[in-house]
């Protein structure tokens, strides 16, 4: 097992949290950096393998196109779906404005 300084830095965790749309407190950043480092440190065993000629396996069974006759099915009831949404207006999901984001 390769013991590097740290498999992941606090700056990388900050970047990943931003990509994943999560806000971390300073204490969380420190704790998660340490814990993710432990897990990635364990993954060093496969990082060290030479797998050049091995095909990747993304799923247990190959994906095949699934066709059905082009006929209308039974859709979910619109009122049922909208009734569990956080905010609705005129039969649509309502969200805050997107303008101003990242500005």
């Amino acid at each position: 097992m390769t013991e590097q300084s740290s498999p992941i830095t606090a700056a990388e965790v900050t970047k990943v949290a931003k990509l994943a749309r999560l806000t971390l407190t300073d204490a969380e950043l420190e704790r998660f950096t340490h814990q993710l480092g432990d897990i990635l440190g364990h993954a060093a065993d496969i990082e060290a393998l030479d797998l050049t000629d091995v095909e990747p396996m993304a799923r247990p069974i190959p994906l095949t196109n699934v066709f059905r006759p082009d006929e209308p099915g039974e859709p979910l009831d619109r009122d049922d779906v909208l009734s569990v949404a956080p905010a609705v207006e005129d039969n649509q999901f309502r969200v805050p404005p997107s303008l101003g984001e990242d500005s």
Binding site: A20, Q35, L40, A43, P56, P60, P86, E101
Partner: protein, 489 residues
């Protein structure tokens, strides 16, 4: 029937016996249900197996089952059998939370396919069971609504992530339960709670209405007090579903009709890599005892090396979080679940996810996002996918010489609550023996096989190749009979 000590409710009628008695009119579904509800009333306060008990809905269902029988109709193969559902299975109009704040209060507009099939077979749904948030965990301590306790010893975890379902069956709250298994989430809690738990071949059971965690790994499967009941439940809920694009268009293997076939002449391989480092000596000893009992029953038992399984843990903890980070991107406060209001949509999404997800879910989302991000994809995610190929190849080689494989289910018996929550890696090590089957898409099941040095249940795992459920159940049935015989003597 095994002795009372073996499982808190091992003297209960099985699902098969209950359904037969209800269908013939000898027993009323309402009476069966009241026994379950009384037990829930007595012990649920200390065990916390459920997020939601559906007492009134269940009474209504049970009455309908009894009315059908009285009217000369057959309610189905699970007539009047109390069943508990893991709370990541969608139930129409009934709160489905995944034990997460972000889905608290959400009532799905549809039923999961498995829920429909159980209802059509006359089952009585008694409640939604607790789990590690979004099925991420091995102890059910990651639930936003508090942990579940092991019915055998309340100071111990029930395992996870389907800890509520395992505890519900072990405590006699329900005769059967459904769980989901992404890296061992049915088998490990089954082992720790002393019940049977089974993960079917990938694609055998529809996942429509199972809230997604790791889509190339997730499977729904049964919990029960007996191997025969697990077989029945698999047959009721399995089979092709056009609503799930990963559903296999094949017949469910006829496990029930072959349960009594025995193991004479069957080739059984004890996996060397799962018998050494990291496995508690008492659990390894019980697994060896299981191998010996199969040999005594006429099987040809040998040790076999499946070298690549040692890389399973690392591969899994890259693949599963990568898939989770994509699947959980849908929780954005727009269409369902929690929303934390904020001035812009971007801030609303981030505030909602930050407040709605617990620590373990955040860890896995970040780990997956990292493994998939530019510069790390090849080193982590890409490599993990190649390890999957190695693991499946090594399994295929082993299955060239063996019909089924054998290992411990969990490296130890149930551990103390709180003992691993601060160290995620130590928690992940619980999945050592169960993960490889998910990576390969193979079936595997845990059968109770006596007790460890601490007196707590030990589970032994039977593994089989894709669609190898028949030899797997045959082996499990022999182990079950031997364990019950041993408990009597």
């Amino acid at each position: 029937m095994s002795d009372e000590q073996h499982s808190p409710n091992a003297v209960d009628p099985s699902a098969i016996e209950t359904a037969a008695a209800v269908r013939s009119g000898d027993l009323s579904a309402v009476e069966v249900l009241e026994t379950s509800l009384t037990r829930i009333e007595e012990r649920e306060g200390e065990i916390h197996a459920f997020n939601l008990v559906l007492a009134e809905e269940a009474r209504e269902t049970a009455r309908r089952v009894d009315d059908a029988v009285a009217g000369g109709a057959d309610p189905g193969a699970l007539a009047g059998v109390p069943v508990a559902l893991k709370d990541n299975l969608c139930t129409k109009g009934v709160e489905t939370t995944c034990s997460s704040r972000i889905l608290e209060g959400w009532k799905p507009p549809y039923d999961a396919t498995v829920v429909q099939r159980l209802a059509a077979a006359g089952a009585v749904m008694v409640g939604k069971t607790n789990l590690d948030e979004f099925a991420m965990g091995s102890s059910t301590e990651n639930s936003a609504f508090g942990p579940t306790h092991n019915p055998h010893d309340l100071s111990k975890v029930p395992g996870g992530s389907s800890g509520g379902s395992a505890a519900a069956v072990a405590a006699g709250f329900a005769t059967l339960a459904l769980g989901s298994d992404t890296g061992g989430s049915i088998r490990q809690p089954a082992a720790l709670c002393g019940v049977v738990g089974m993960k079917p071949t990938y694609g055998l059971v529809s996942r429509l209405g199972l809230i997604a965690f790791g889509s190339s790994l997730d499977q729904i499967g049964p919990f029960s007090n007996s191997v025969a009941d697990a077989a029945l439940l698999l047959e009721v809920m399995g089979g092709h579903d056009p609503g799930d694009s990963t559903s296999l268009d094949t017949e469910v293997p006829a496990v029930s009709t072959h349960l009594d076939d025995g193991v004479s002449g069957m080739r059984v391989g004890l996996i060397s890599e799962m018998m050494g480092e990291g496995i508690a000596p008492d659990v390894a000893a019980r697994t060896r005892a299981a191998a010996e009992c199969l040999a005594a029953a006429g099987a040809i038992v040998e040790e076999v090396s499946v070298p690549a399984v040692v890389y399973g843990l690392s591969a899994y903890y890259l693949v599963a979080p990568a898939e989770a980070s994509s699947n959980l991107a849908r929780y954005d406060g727009v269409r369902y679940g929690m929303r934390v209001e904020a001035p812009t949509v971007g801030e609303m999404i981030e505030a909602t996810r930050t407040a709605g997800f617990g620590d373990e879910v955040k860890r896995r989302i970040m780990l997956g996002t990292y493994a998939l991000s530019a510069g790390y994809y090849d080193a982590f995610y890409g490599k993990a996918l190649k390890v999957r190929t190695l693991i499946r190849g090594d399994f295929d080689a082993a299955y060239g010489n063996f019909d089924v494989l054998l290992s411990p289910t969990s490296p130890s018996t149930a551990f103390d609550m709180g003992s691993k929550t601060a160290d995620p890696l130590s928690m992940y090590l619980n999945d050592l023996c169960t993960i490889p089957s998910n990576l390969a898409g193979h079936p595997a099941m845990s059968v109770p096989f006596g007790r460890g040095g601490d007196g707590l249940p030990v589970g032994v795992q039977v593994l089989a190749p894709a669609l190898g459920e028949v030899p797997m159940f045959r082996t499990a049935a022999v182990l079950e009979a031997a364990a019950r015989e041993e408990a009597r003597s």
